[in-house]
Amino acid sequence: MNGLVDVYVQQFKTTLALQVQYRAALVIWVIGHVLEPLIYLVIWSVVSTSTGGSVGGFTTGGFAAYFILLMLVNHVTYTWIMYEYEYRVRHGALSFALLRPVHPIHSDIADNVSSKLITMPGMLLTAVGLALLFKPTFHLVPWAVVATLPALMLAFLLRFLVEWTLALAAFWTTRVSAINQMYFVAVLFLSGQVAPLSLLPHTIQVAATILPFYWTIGFPVELLLGRLTPTQAWTGLVAQAVWLTLSLVLVRIVWRAGVRVYSAVGA
Protein backbone atom coordinates (compact mmCIF):
# COMPACT_ATOMS: atom_id res chain seq x y z
CA MET A 1 0.00 0.00 0.00
CA ASN A 2 2.85 2.37 0.94
CA GLY A 3 4.40 1.56 -2.41
CA LEU A 4 1.25 2.60 -4.21
CA VAL A 5 1.10 5.86 -2.22
CA ASP A 6 4.68 6.52 -3.36
CA VAL A 7 3.63 5.93 -7.00
CA TYR A 8 0.79 8.44 -6.56
CA VAL A 9 3.11 10.99 -4.95
CA GLN A 10 5.72 10.63 -7.71
CA GLN A 11 3.07 10.77 -10.44
CA PHE A 12 1.76 13.94 -8.83
CA LYS A 13 5.24 15.48 -8.95
CA THR A 14 5.67 14.39 -12.59
CA THR A 15 2.32 15.86 -13.60
CA LEU A 16 3.09 19.08 -11.71
CA ALA A 17 6.43 19.36 -13.53
CA LEU A 18 4.65 18.78 -16.85
CA GLN A 19 1.87 21.27 -16.18
CA VAL A 20 4.36 23.96 -15.22
CA GLN A 21 6.03 23.49 -18.61
CA TYR A 22 2.81 24.31 -20.42
CA ARG A 23 1.17 27.20 -18.62
CA ALA A 24 -0.52 28.57 -21.75
CA ALA A 25 -2.08 25.18 -22.53
CA LEU A 26 -3.33 25.04 -18.98
CA VAL A 27 -5.08 28.40 -19.30
CA ILE A 28 -6.66 27.35 -22.62
CA TRP A 29 -7.86 24.12 -21.00
CA VAL A 30 -9.47 26.02 -18.11
CA ILE A 31 -11.13 28.45 -20.55
CA GLY A 32 -12.58 25.48 -22.46
CA HIS A 33 -14.03 24.11 -19.25
CA VAL A 34 -15.59 27.43 -18.37
CA LEU A 35 -17.04 28.27 -21.77
CA GLU A 36 -19.44 25.35 -22.19
CA PRO A 37 -21.41 25.77 -18.94
CA LEU A 38 -21.21 29.54 -19.44
CA ILE A 39 -23.06 29.24 -22.76
CA TYR A 40 -25.84 27.13 -21.19
CA LEU A 41 -25.96 29.54 -18.25
CA VAL A 42 -26.46 32.54 -20.54
CA ILE A 43 -29.13 30.73 -22.62
CA TRP A 44 -31.14 29.58 -19.59
CA SER A 45 -30.84 32.99 -17.91
CA VAL A 46 -32.32 34.62 -21.00
CA VAL A 47 -35.10 31.99 -21.18
CA SER A 48 -35.84 32.43 -17.47
CA THR A 49 -35.92 36.22 -17.66
CA SER A 50 -38.21 36.18 -20.71
CA THR A 51 -40.66 33.79 -19.00
CA GLY A 52 -41.14 35.87 -15.88
CA GLY A 53 -38.01 34.88 -13.93
CA SER A 54 -38.56 31.15 -13.52
CA VAL A 55 -38.51 27.94 -15.63
CA GLY A 56 -39.45 24.55 -14.23
CA GLY A 57 -38.73 25.59 -10.65
CA PHE A 58 -35.43 27.29 -11.49
CA THR A 59 -35.14 31.07 -11.02
CA THR A 60 -32.54 33.07 -12.94
CA GLY A 61 -30.36 32.99 -9.84
CA GLY A 62 -31.07 29.26 -9.50
CA PHE A 63 -29.79 28.63 -13.03
CA ALA A 64 -26.65 30.64 -12.26
CA ALA A 65 -26.04 28.56 -9.12
CA TYR A 66 -26.70 25.31 -11.01
CA PHE A 67 -24.34 26.00 -13.90
CA ILE A 68 -21.54 27.50 -11.77
CA LEU A 69 -21.56 24.40 -9.55
CA LEU A 70 -21.91 22.16 -12.60
CA MET A 71 -18.77 23.74 -14.00
CA LEU A 72 -16.88 22.86 -10.80
CA VAL A 73 -18.31 19.34 -10.49
CA ASN A 74 -17.65 18.62 -14.16
CA HIS A 75 -14.09 19.82 -13.64
CA VAL A 76 -13.65 17.43 -10.72
CA THR A 77 -15.02 14.37 -12.54
CA TYR A 78 -13.75 15.11 -16.08
CA THR A 79 -11.24 12.74 -17.72
CA TRP A 80 -9.32 12.94 -21.01
CA ILE A 81 -8.36 9.30 -21.09
CA MET A 82 -10.60 8.46 -24.08
CA TYR A 83 -8.54 10.78 -26.26
CA GLU A 84 -5.27 9.22 -25.14
CA TYR A 85 -5.82 5.51 -25.32
CA GLU A 86 -5.89 5.12 -29.07
CA TYR A 87 -2.50 6.83 -29.29
CA ARG A 88 -1.13 4.58 -26.57
CA VAL A 89 -2.30 1.41 -28.29
CA ARG A 90 -1.34 2.38 -31.85
CA HIS A 91 2.07 3.77 -30.99
CA GLY A 92 3.06 1.08 -28.54
CA ALA A 93 3.29 3.46 -25.56
CA LEU A 94 1.13 0.98 -23.70
CA SER A 95 3.89 -1.62 -23.99
CA PHE A 96 6.05 0.20 -21.45
CA ALA A 97 3.07 0.55 -19.11
CA LEU A 98 2.38 -3.20 -19.37
CA LEU A 99 5.97 -4.04 -18.47
CA ARG A 100 5.79 -2.12 -15.21
CA PRO A 101 4.88 -3.93 -11.99
CA VAL A 102 1.95 -1.54 -11.32
CA HIS A 103 -1.44 -1.53 -13.02
CA PRO A 104 -1.52 1.36 -15.54
CA ILE A 105 -4.81 2.68 -14.13
CA HIS A 106 -2.99 3.94 -11.04
CA SER A 107 -0.77 6.37 -12.89
CA ASP A 108 -3.83 7.58 -14.84
CA ILE A 109 -5.81 8.23 -11.65
CA ALA A 110 -2.83 9.95 -10.06
CA ASP A 111 -2.25 12.02 -13.19
CA ASN A 112 -5.92 13.04 -13.31
CA VAL A 113 -6.11 14.00 -9.62
CA SER A 114 -2.83 15.93 -9.86
CA SER A 115 -4.02 17.92 -12.87
CA LYS A 116 -7.26 18.75 -11.09
CA LEU A 117 -5.49 19.96 -7.96
CA ILE A 118 -3.27 22.19 -10.05
CA THR A 119 -6.11 23.68 -12.11
CA MET A 120 -8.66 23.91 -9.28
CA PRO A 121 -7.55 27.34 -7.94
CA GLY A 122 -8.07 28.77 -11.44
CA MET A 123 -11.53 27.20 -11.65
CA LEU A 124 -12.51 28.47 -8.19
CA LEU A 125 -11.41 32.00 -9.08
CA THR A 126 -13.43 31.77 -12.28
CA ALA A 127 -16.44 30.54 -10.29
CA VAL A 128 -16.14 33.55 -7.96
CA GLY A 129 -15.95 35.86 -11.01
CA LEU A 130 -19.05 34.24 -12.56
CA ALA A 131 -20.88 34.46 -9.22
CA LEU A 132 -20.22 38.22 -9.08
CA LEU A 133 -21.45 38.54 -12.66
CA PHE A 134 -24.56 36.30 -12.60
CA LYS A 135 -25.60 36.60 -8.93
CA PRO A 136 -26.52 32.98 -8.16
CA THR A 137 -28.92 32.13 -5.33
CA PHE A 138 -27.76 29.25 -3.12
CA HIS A 139 -29.93 27.55 -0.52
CA LEU A 140 -27.29 25.43 1.13
CA VAL A 141 -28.54 22.70 3.48
CA PRO A 142 -25.87 21.52 5.97
CA TRP A 143 -26.58 17.75 5.70
CA ALA A 144 -26.65 18.01 1.89
CA VAL A 145 -23.32 19.84 1.83
CA VAL A 146 -21.80 17.05 3.94
CA ALA A 147 -23.37 14.35 1.73
CA THR A 148 -21.94 16.05 -1.36
CA LEU A 149 -18.40 15.05 -0.39
CA PRO A 150 -18.87 11.26 -0.72
CA ALA A 151 -21.19 11.88 -3.71
CA LEU A 152 -18.45 13.85 -5.44
CA MET A 153 -15.82 11.23 -4.71
CA LEU A 154 -18.09 8.43 -5.98
CA ALA A 155 -18.94 10.55 -9.03
CA PHE A 156 -15.25 11.01 -9.83
CA LEU A 157 -14.43 7.31 -9.44
CA LEU A 158 -17.53 6.22 -11.40
CA ARG A 159 -16.89 8.58 -14.32
CA PHE A 160 -13.21 7.68 -14.32
CA LEU A 161 -13.93 3.95 -14.49
CA VAL A 162 -16.68 4.31 -17.13
CA GLU A 163 -14.47 6.43 -19.38
CA TRP A 164 -11.36 4.31 -18.74
CA THR A 165 -13.39 1.24 -19.77
CA LEU A 166 -14.71 2.96 -22.90
CA ALA A 167 -11.19 4.12 -23.75
CA LEU A 168 -10.16 0.45 -23.89
CA ALA A 169 -12.21 0.18 -27.10
CA ALA A 170 -8.93 1.25 -28.69
CA PHE A 171 -7.79 -2.36 -28.30
CA TRP A 172 -10.39 -3.44 -30.85
CA THR A 173 -10.93 -0.51 -33.20
CA THR A 174 -9.02 2.39 -34.67
CA ARG A 175 -12.22 4.46 -34.93
CA VAL A 176 -12.41 5.36 -31.27
CA SER A 177 -13.48 8.92 -32.08
CA ALA A 178 -16.91 7.67 -33.28
CA ILE A 179 -17.48 5.93 -29.94
CA ASN A 180 -16.26 9.00 -28.05
CA GLN A 181 -18.66 11.21 -29.98
CA MET A 182 -21.65 9.00 -29.14
CA TYR A 183 -20.63 8.92 -25.51
CA PHE A 184 -20.23 12.69 -25.26
CA VAL A 185 -23.71 13.27 -26.74
CA ALA A 186 -25.16 10.86 -24.17
CA VAL A 187 -23.30 12.64 -21.36
CA LEU A 188 -24.44 16.05 -22.58
CA PHE A 189 -28.14 15.20 -22.40
CA LEU A 190 -28.31 12.59 -19.67
CA SER A 191 -25.93 14.03 -17.10
CA GLY A 192 -27.65 17.37 -16.65
CA GLN A 193 -24.98 19.30 -18.52
CA VAL A 194 -27.20 20.91 -21.15
CA ALA A 195 -30.02 21.61 -18.67
CA PRO A 196 -31.14 20.48 -15.21
CA LEU A 197 -32.75 17.06 -15.59
CA SER A 198 -36.15 18.27 -14.32
CA LEU A 199 -36.48 20.47 -17.43
CA LEU A 200 -36.06 17.56 -19.82
CA PRO A 201 -38.81 15.20 -21.08
CA HIS A 202 -39.93 12.47 -18.70
CA THR A 203 -38.45 9.63 -20.76
CA ILE A 204 -35.02 11.26 -20.68
CA GLN A 205 -35.32 11.71 -16.93
CA VAL A 206 -36.13 8.02 -16.48
CA ALA A 207 -33.26 7.00 -18.78
CA ALA A 208 -30.91 9.31 -16.86
CA THR A 209 -31.70 7.73 -13.52
CA ILE A 210 -31.12 4.24 -14.91
CA LEU A 211 -27.87 5.07 -16.74
CA PRO A 212 -24.70 6.14 -14.93
CA PHE A 213 -24.20 9.62 -16.48
CA TYR A 214 -26.50 11.67 -14.21
CA TRP A 215 -24.83 10.21 -11.11
CA THR A 216 -21.43 11.50 -12.27
CA ILE A 217 -22.38 15.19 -12.75
CA GLY A 218 -26.01 16.28 -12.22
CA PHE A 219 -26.60 14.43 -8.96
CA PRO A 220 -23.77 15.99 -6.90
CA VAL A 221 -24.74 19.43 -8.25
CA GLU A 222 -28.42 19.10 -7.27
CA LEU A 223 -27.43 17.61 -3.92
CA LEU A 224 -25.17 20.55 -3.10
CA LEU A 225 -27.85 23.00 -4.20
CA GLY A 226 -30.18 21.47 -1.62
CA ARG A 227 -32.72 20.46 -4.25
CA LEU A 228 -32.92 16.81 -3.16
CA THR A 229 -34.76 15.18 -0.28
CA PRO A 230 -32.79 12.90 2.10
CA THR A 231 -34.43 9.89 0.39
CA GLN A 232 -33.36 11.11 -3.03
CA ALA A 233 -29.85 11.70 -1.67
CA TRP A 234 -29.62 8.16 -0.28
CA THR A 235 -31.02 6.71 -3.50
CA GLY A 236 -28.39 8.64 -5.42
CA LEU A 237 -25.52 7.47 -3.25
CA VAL A 238 -26.71 3.87 -3.56
CA ALA A 239 -27.07 4.24 -7.34
CA GLN A 240 -23.51 5.58 -7.48
CA ALA A 241 -22.23 2.68 -5.37
CA VAL A 242 -24.05 0.11 -7.53
CA TRP A 243 -22.75 1.62 -10.76
CA LEU A 244 -19.25 1.86 -9.29
CA THR A 245 -19.30 -1.83 -8.37
CA LEU A 246 -20.56 -2.76 -11.85
CA SER A 247 -17.89 -0.57 -13.44
CA LEU A 248 -15.16 -2.17 -11.37
CA VAL A 249 -16.23 -5.61 -12.55
CA LEU A 250 -16.58 -4.40 -16.13
CA VAL A 251 -13.21 -2.64 -16.23
CA ARG A 252 -11.47 -5.82 -15.07
CA ILE A 253 -13.20 -7.95 -17.70
CA VAL A 254 -12.62 -5.47 -20.54
CA TRP A 255 -9.01 -4.82 -19.49
CA ARG A 256 -8.17 -8.52 -19.47
CA ALA A 257 -9.86 -9.11 -22.81
CA GLY A 258 -8.19 -6.02 -24.30
CA VAL A 259 -4.72 -6.99 -23.15
CA ARG A 260 -5.33 -10.46 -24.58
CA VAL A 261 -6.09 -8.87 -27.97
CA TYR A 262 -3.10 -6.54 -27.64
CA SER A 263 -0.79 -9.44 -26.85
CA ALA A 264 -2.27 -11.54 -29.65
CA VAL A 265 -1.95 -9.09 -32.53
CA GLY A 266 1.24 -7.34 -31.61
CA ALA A 267 2.16 -4.34 -29.58
Partner: protein, 338 residues
Amino acid sequence: MPSSLSTLGESTVTLPAIHVRDLRKTYVVSEREAGAVAALRSLVYRHTQTIPAVDGISFDLAPGEIVGFLGPNGAGKTTTLKMVSGLLHPTAGQLTVLGHVPWKRERAFLRQITLVMGQRNQLVWDIPALDSFELNRAIYRIPAADFRRTLDELTELLEIGPLLRKPVRNLSLGERMKCEIAAALLHRPQVVLLDEPTIGLDVTMQRRLRAFIAEYNRRYGATVLLTSHYMADVEALCRRVIVIHRGRLLFDGDLSALVQRFTSHKTIVVQLRDCLNDLHSYGEVVSCEDGSVTLRVPKGDTARVTERLLADLRVIDLTVEDPPIEEVIERVFEQEPV
Protein backbone atom coordinates in the same frame (compact mmCIF):
# COMPACT_ATOMS: atom_id res chain seq x y z
CA MET B 1 18.25 -14.80 -8.27
CA PRO B 2 16.60 -17.78 -6.59
CA SER B 3 14.78 -19.00 -9.70
CA SER B 4 17.97 -19.71 -11.59
CA LEU B 5 19.41 -22.23 -9.19
CA SER B 6 18.02 -25.45 -7.89
CA THR B 7 19.63 -28.18 -5.89
CA LEU B 8 19.24 -31.66 -7.26
CA GLY B 9 20.48 -34.23 -4.79
CA GLU B 10 24.16 -33.54 -4.19
CA SER B 11 24.82 -31.44 -7.27
CA THR B 12 23.69 -27.93 -8.10
CA VAL B 13 22.04 -27.53 -11.47
CA THR B 14 21.96 -24.13 -13.07
CA LEU B 15 18.61 -23.52 -14.71
CA PRO B 16 18.57 -21.38 -17.81
CA ALA B 17 17.61 -17.74 -17.29
CA ILE B 18 15.60 -17.94 -20.51
CA HIS B 19 14.16 -21.25 -21.67
CA VAL B 20 12.51 -21.45 -25.09
CA ARG B 21 11.15 -24.64 -26.67
CA ASP B 22 9.26 -24.88 -29.98
CA LEU B 23 8.08 -21.32 -29.55
CA ARG B 24 5.51 -20.19 -32.10
CA LYS B 25 3.65 -17.00 -32.79
CA THR B 26 1.22 -16.64 -35.65
CA TYR B 27 -0.62 -13.48 -36.63
CA VAL B 28 -3.97 -13.49 -38.38
CA VAL B 29 -4.02 -10.62 -40.87
CA SER B 30 -6.85 -9.58 -43.15
CA GLU B 31 -6.05 -8.89 -46.78
CA ARG B 32 -7.94 -7.78 -49.87
CA GLU B 33 -7.34 -6.76 -53.47
CA ALA B 34 -7.00 -3.08 -54.29
CA GLY B 35 -10.02 -1.12 -55.55
CA ALA B 36 -13.51 -0.07 -54.55
CA VAL B 37 -15.24 -3.37 -55.43
CA ALA B 38 -12.83 -5.34 -53.27
CA ALA B 39 -13.31 -2.80 -50.48
CA LEU B 40 -17.09 -3.25 -50.61
CA ARG B 41 -16.73 -7.01 -50.74
CA SER B 42 -14.52 -6.89 -47.65
CA LEU B 43 -17.44 -5.35 -45.74
CA VAL B 44 -19.24 -8.68 -46.02
CA TYR B 45 -16.41 -11.14 -46.21
CA ARG B 46 -12.88 -10.67 -45.00
CA HIS B 47 -10.18 -12.92 -46.30
CA THR B 48 -7.65 -13.59 -43.60
CA GLN B 49 -4.28 -15.17 -43.71
CA THR B 50 -2.27 -16.76 -40.92
CA ILE B 51 1.32 -15.58 -40.89
CA PRO B 52 3.86 -17.47 -38.81
CA ALA B 53 6.09 -14.76 -37.28
CA VAL B 54 7.98 -17.21 -35.08
CA ASP B 55 7.87 -20.77 -36.29
CA GLY B 56 9.07 -23.21 -33.66
CA ILE B 57 12.34 -21.92 -32.27
CA SER B 58 14.22 -23.36 -29.29
CA PHE B 59 17.15 -22.03 -27.26
CA ASP B 60 18.34 -21.58 -23.70
CA LEU B 61 20.27 -18.69 -22.20
CA ALA B 62 22.36 -19.36 -19.12
CA PRO B 63 22.34 -16.76 -16.33
CA GLY B 64 24.86 -14.02 -17.09
CA GLU B 65 25.16 -14.84 -20.77
CA ILE B 66 25.13 -12.13 -23.49
CA VAL B 67 23.64 -13.43 -26.72
CA GLY B 68 23.19 -11.64 -30.03
CA PHE B 69 19.87 -12.28 -31.71
CA LEU B 70 20.25 -11.75 -35.44
CA GLY B 71 18.12 -11.89 -38.52
CA PRO B 72 16.85 -9.69 -41.32
CA ASN B 73 13.85 -7.37 -40.93
CA GLY B 74 10.71 -9.40 -40.35
CA ALA B 75 12.67 -12.45 -39.20
CA GLY B 76 10.77 -12.62 -35.92
CA LYS B 77 13.39 -11.10 -33.59
CA THR B 78 11.20 -8.39 -32.08
CA THR B 79 8.24 -10.78 -31.84
CA THR B 80 10.44 -13.19 -29.89
CA LEU B 81 11.73 -10.43 -27.59
CA LYS B 82 8.17 -9.30 -26.95
CA MET B 83 7.17 -12.85 -26.05
CA VAL B 84 10.17 -13.16 -23.74
CA SER B 85 9.26 -9.86 -22.06
CA GLY B 86 5.61 -10.87 -21.67
CA LEU B 87 4.09 -8.36 -24.10
CA LEU B 88 2.99 -11.04 -26.54
CA HIS B 89 1.19 -14.27 -25.85
CA PRO B 90 2.85 -17.20 -27.66
CA THR B 91 0.62 -19.24 -29.96
CA ALA B 92 2.38 -22.45 -28.90
CA GLY B 93 5.51 -23.73 -27.21
CA GLN B 94 7.23 -23.40 -23.88
CA LEU B 95 8.74 -20.20 -22.58
CA THR B 96 10.02 -19.42 -19.11
CA VAL B 97 12.15 -16.52 -17.93
CA LEU B 98 13.73 -16.77 -14.46
CA GLY B 99 11.20 -19.50 -13.79
CA HIS B 100 8.21 -17.30 -14.68
CA VAL B 101 5.78 -17.58 -17.57
CA PRO B 102 6.26 -14.11 -19.12
CA TRP B 103 2.77 -13.42 -20.52
CA LYS B 104 1.27 -13.72 -17.03
CA ARG B 105 3.30 -10.59 -16.24
CA GLU B 106 3.55 -11.32 -12.53
CA ARG B 107 4.99 -8.44 -10.54
CA ALA B 108 7.89 -10.56 -9.27
CA PHE B 109 8.78 -11.24 -12.94
CA LEU B 110 8.36 -7.66 -14.15
CA ARG B 111 10.65 -6.38 -11.39
CA GLN B 112 13.48 -8.57 -12.72
CA ILE B 113 13.36 -7.78 -16.42
CA THR B 114 13.66 -4.84 -18.75
CA LEU B 115 13.02 -4.26 -22.44
CA VAL B 116 14.75 -1.43 -24.26
CA MET B 117 13.44 -0.66 -27.72
CA GLY B 118 15.74 1.66 -29.65
CA GLN B 119 12.89 3.25 -31.54
CA ARG B 120 10.57 3.83 -28.61
CA ASN B 121 10.83 5.99 -25.53
CA GLN B 122 9.60 5.52 -22.02
CA LEU B 123 10.98 8.80 -20.61
CA VAL B 124 8.50 11.64 -20.27
CA TRP B 125 9.41 13.99 -23.09
CA ASP B 126 8.89 17.40 -21.49
CA ILE B 127 10.54 16.99 -18.12
CA PRO B 128 14.09 16.14 -17.00
CA ALA B 129 15.06 12.45 -17.05
CA LEU B 130 15.66 12.60 -13.30
CA ASP B 131 11.91 13.10 -12.74
CA SER B 132 11.15 9.98 -14.80
CA PHE B 133 13.81 8.10 -12.82
CA GLU B 134 12.09 9.07 -9.57
CA LEU B 135 8.80 7.78 -10.97
CA ASN B 136 10.48 4.47 -11.84
CA ARG B 137 11.94 4.31 -8.32
CA ALA B 138 8.40 4.43 -6.93
CA ILE B 139 6.96 2.02 -9.53
CA TYR B 140 9.69 -0.58 -8.96
CA ARG B 141 9.74 0.08 -5.21
CA ILE B 142 13.49 0.58 -5.20
CA PRO B 143 14.75 1.39 -1.67
CA ALA B 144 16.10 4.94 -1.52
CA ALA B 145 19.68 3.91 -0.73
CA ASP B 146 19.78 1.33 -3.56
CA PHE B 147 18.28 3.86 -5.96
CA ARG B 148 20.90 6.47 -5.08
CA ARG B 149 23.74 3.96 -5.45
CA THR B 150 22.50 2.52 -8.77
CA LEU B 151 21.81 5.98 -10.13
CA ASP B 152 25.34 7.11 -9.19
CA GLU B 153 26.81 4.04 -10.89
CA LEU B 154 24.73 4.42 -14.03
CA THR B 155 25.42 8.15 -14.16
CA GLU B 156 29.13 7.47 -14.00
CA LEU B 157 29.15 4.56 -16.46
CA LEU B 158 26.95 6.31 -19.03
CA GLU B 159 28.40 9.80 -18.39
CA ILE B 160 24.94 11.33 -18.09
CA GLY B 161 25.50 13.56 -15.04
CA PRO B 162 25.02 16.87 -16.90
CA LEU B 163 21.98 15.53 -18.83
CA LEU B 164 19.78 14.50 -15.94
CA ARG B 165 18.32 17.94 -15.24
CA LYS B 166 17.58 18.92 -18.83
CA PRO B 167 14.14 18.28 -20.37
CA VAL B 168 14.39 15.06 -22.39
CA ARG B 169 13.17 16.84 -25.53
CA ASN B 170 16.33 19.00 -25.48
CA LEU B 171 18.67 16.00 -25.55
CA SER B 172 20.30 14.62 -28.69
CA LEU B 173 19.31 11.14 -29.88
CA GLY B 174 22.40 9.57 -28.32
CA GLU B 175 22.00 11.42 -25.03
CA ARG B 176 18.35 10.42 -24.89
CA MET B 177 19.19 6.78 -25.55
CA LYS B 178 21.69 6.76 -22.71
CA CYS B 179 19.04 8.17 -20.38
CA GLU B 180 16.51 5.62 -21.68
CA ILE B 181 18.92 2.82 -20.85
CA ALA B 182 19.59 4.24 -17.39
CA ALA B 183 15.82 4.42 -16.74
CA ALA B 184 15.43 0.82 -17.88
CA LEU B 185 18.18 -0.44 -15.58
CA LEU B 186 17.51 1.48 -12.36
CA HIS B 187 15.78 -1.53 -10.83
CA ARG B 188 18.83 -3.68 -11.72
CA PRO B 189 17.00 -6.23 -13.85
CA GLN B 190 18.47 -9.72 -14.09
CA VAL B 191 17.25 -10.14 -17.66
CA VAL B 192 17.94 -7.33 -20.11
CA LEU B 193 16.26 -7.42 -23.52
CA LEU B 194 17.70 -4.92 -25.97
CA ASP B 195 15.98 -4.38 -29.30
CA GLU B 196 18.26 -2.34 -31.56
CA PRO B 197 19.62 -0.20 -28.71
CA THR B 198 22.18 1.56 -30.92
CA ILE B 199 19.91 2.33 -33.88
CA GLY B 200 20.50 5.80 -35.29
CA LEU B 201 23.47 6.53 -33.03
CA ASP B 202 26.86 7.72 -34.23
CA VAL B 203 29.83 5.39 -34.06
CA THR B 204 31.29 6.89 -30.87
CA MET B 205 28.00 6.67 -29.04
CA GLN B 206 27.49 3.10 -30.25
CA ARG B 207 30.90 2.16 -28.87
CA ARG B 208 30.15 3.77 -25.51
CA LEU B 209 26.84 1.98 -25.19
CA ARG B 210 28.46 -1.33 -26.05
CA ALA B 211 31.11 -0.82 -23.37
CA PHE B 212 28.36 0.03 -20.93
CA ILE B 213 26.29 -3.08 -21.70
CA ALA B 214 29.38 -5.25 -21.25
CA GLU B 215 30.13 -3.56 -17.92
CA TYR B 216 26.55 -3.91 -16.68
CA ASN B 217 26.62 -7.61 -17.54
CA ARG B 218 29.98 -8.05 -15.75
CA ARG B 219 28.97 -6.07 -12.66
CA TYR B 220 25.49 -7.49 -12.07
CA GLY B 221 25.69 -10.88 -13.79
CA ALA B 222 22.63 -10.01 -15.87
CA THR B 223 21.52 -12.11 -18.81
CA VAL B 224 21.38 -10.03 -21.99
CA LEU B 225 19.57 -10.83 -25.23
CA LEU B 226 20.39 -8.24 -27.86
CA THR B 227 19.16 -7.64 -31.38
CA SER B 228 21.07 -5.33 -33.67
CA HIS B 229 21.66 -4.72 -37.31
CA TYR B 230 25.14 -3.49 -36.46
CA MET B 231 27.56 -6.38 -36.57
CA ALA B 232 29.98 -4.28 -34.51
CA ASP B 233 27.55 -4.44 -31.57
CA VAL B 234 27.38 -8.18 -31.80
CA GLU B 235 31.12 -8.68 -32.28
CA ALA B 236 31.94 -6.49 -29.29
CA LEU B 237 29.46 -8.05 -26.91
CA CYS B 238 28.39 -11.54 -27.84
CA ARG B 239 30.40 -14.71 -27.93
CA ARG B 240 27.26 -16.56 -28.94
CA VAL B 241 24.73 -15.61 -31.57
CA ILE B 242 21.32 -16.93 -32.54
CA VAL B 243 20.25 -16.30 -36.11
CA ILE B 244 16.64 -16.55 -37.14
CA HIS B 245 15.08 -16.08 -40.54
CA ARG B 246 11.41 -16.23 -41.46
CA GLY B 247 10.66 -17.24 -37.90
CA ARG B 248 12.98 -20.24 -37.93
CA LEU B 249 16.22 -20.88 -36.13
CA LEU B 250 19.09 -20.82 -38.57
CA PHE B 251 22.16 -20.82 -36.43
CA ASP B 252 22.88 -21.00 -32.72
CA GLY B 253 26.48 -21.07 -31.68
CA ASP B 254 29.84 -19.41 -31.44
CA LEU B 255 30.07 -16.01 -33.02
CA SER B 256 33.50 -16.74 -34.47
CA ALA B 257 32.06 -19.42 -36.72
CA LEU B 258 29.41 -17.06 -37.98
CA VAL B 259 31.69 -14.05 -38.25
CA GLN B 260 33.87 -16.05 -40.59
CA ARG B 261 30.84 -16.45 -42.80
CA PHE B 262 29.78 -12.85 -42.33
CA THR B 263 33.08 -11.47 -43.51
CA SER B 264 34.06 -14.14 -46.00
CA HIS B 265 33.00 -11.95 -48.93
CA LYS B 266 33.03 -8.29 -49.85
CA THR B 267 30.83 -6.40 -52.24
CA ILE B 268 32.50 -4.21 -54.88
CA VAL B 269 30.27 -1.71 -56.67
CA VAL B 270 31.85 -0.38 -59.91
CA GLN B 271 30.38 2.45 -61.95
CA LEU B 272 31.20 1.94 -65.65
CA ARG B 273 30.15 3.48 -68.94
CA ASP B 274 28.53 0.21 -70.10
CA CYS B 275 27.42 -2.98 -68.50
CA LEU B 276 30.03 -5.47 -69.65
CA ASN B 277 29.49 -9.20 -69.73
CA ASP B 278 33.01 -10.36 -69.06
CA LEU B 279 33.12 -9.13 -65.44
CA HIS B 280 32.48 -12.69 -64.30
CA SER B 281 36.22 -13.22 -64.36
CA TYR B 282 36.57 -10.71 -61.52
CA GLY B 283 33.98 -12.23 -59.23
CA GLU B 284 30.33 -13.18 -58.89
CA VAL B 285 28.13 -10.58 -60.63
CA VAL B 286 25.26 -9.85 -58.25
CA SER B 287 23.62 -7.15 -60.36
CA CYS B 288 24.28 -5.03 -63.42
CA GLU B 289 22.10 -1.96 -63.93
CA ASP B 290 22.70 1.36 -65.69
CA GLY B 291 26.45 0.83 -65.81
CA SER B 292 26.62 0.02 -62.09
CA VAL B 293 27.97 -3.49 -61.51
CA THR B 294 27.87 -5.19 -58.12
CA LEU B 295 30.44 -7.93 -57.62
CA ARG B 296 30.79 -10.36 -54.76
CA VAL B 297 34.38 -11.45 -54.20
CA PRO B 298 36.14 -13.50 -51.51
CA LYS B 299 37.43 -11.20 -48.77
CA GLY B 300 41.05 -12.22 -49.38
CA ASP B 301 40.83 -11.32 -53.06
CA THR B 302 39.34 -7.84 -52.56
CA ALA B 303 42.56 -5.86 -52.97
CA ARG B 304 43.71 -7.85 -56.01
CA VAL B 305 40.31 -7.66 -57.77
CA THR B 306 40.02 -3.92 -57.06
CA GLU B 307 43.46 -3.37 -58.52
CA ARG B 308 42.60 -5.36 -61.64
CA LEU B 309 39.28 -3.55 -62.14
CA LEU B 310 40.97 -0.15 -61.94
CA ALA B 311 43.73 -1.24 -64.29
CA ASP B 312 41.57 -3.02 -66.89
CA LEU B 313 38.42 -0.87 -67.11
CA ARG B 314 37.36 2.75 -67.44
CA VAL B 315 36.02 3.06 -63.93
CA ILE B 316 34.02 6.19 -62.97
CA ASP B 317 33.58 5.19 -59.34
CA LEU B 318 34.34 2.19 -57.16
CA THR B 319 33.32 1.30 -53.62
CA VAL B 320 34.11 -1.72 -51.47
CA GLU B 321 31.50 -2.70 -48.89
CA ASP B 322 30.69 -5.46 -46.46
CA PRO B 323 27.61 -7.25 -47.67
CA PRO B 324 24.42 -6.19 -45.87
CA ILE B 325 23.60 -8.43 -42.95
CA GLU B 326 20.27 -9.44 -44.50
CA GLU B 327 22.06 -10.67 -47.62
CA VAL B 328 24.63 -12.63 -45.66
CA ILE B 329 22.03 -14.29 -43.47
CA GLU B 330 19.99 -15.10 -46.53
CA ARG B 331 23.03 -16.78 -48.02
CA VAL B 332 23.57 -18.77 -44.85
CA PHE B 333 19.94 -19.81 -45.04
CA GLU B 334 20.26 -20.92 -48.65
CA GLN B 335 23.44 -22.83 -48.06
CA GLU B 336 22.99 -24.35 -44.64
CA PRO B 337 19.41 -24.78 -43.58
CA VAL B 338 19.19 -26.35 -40.14
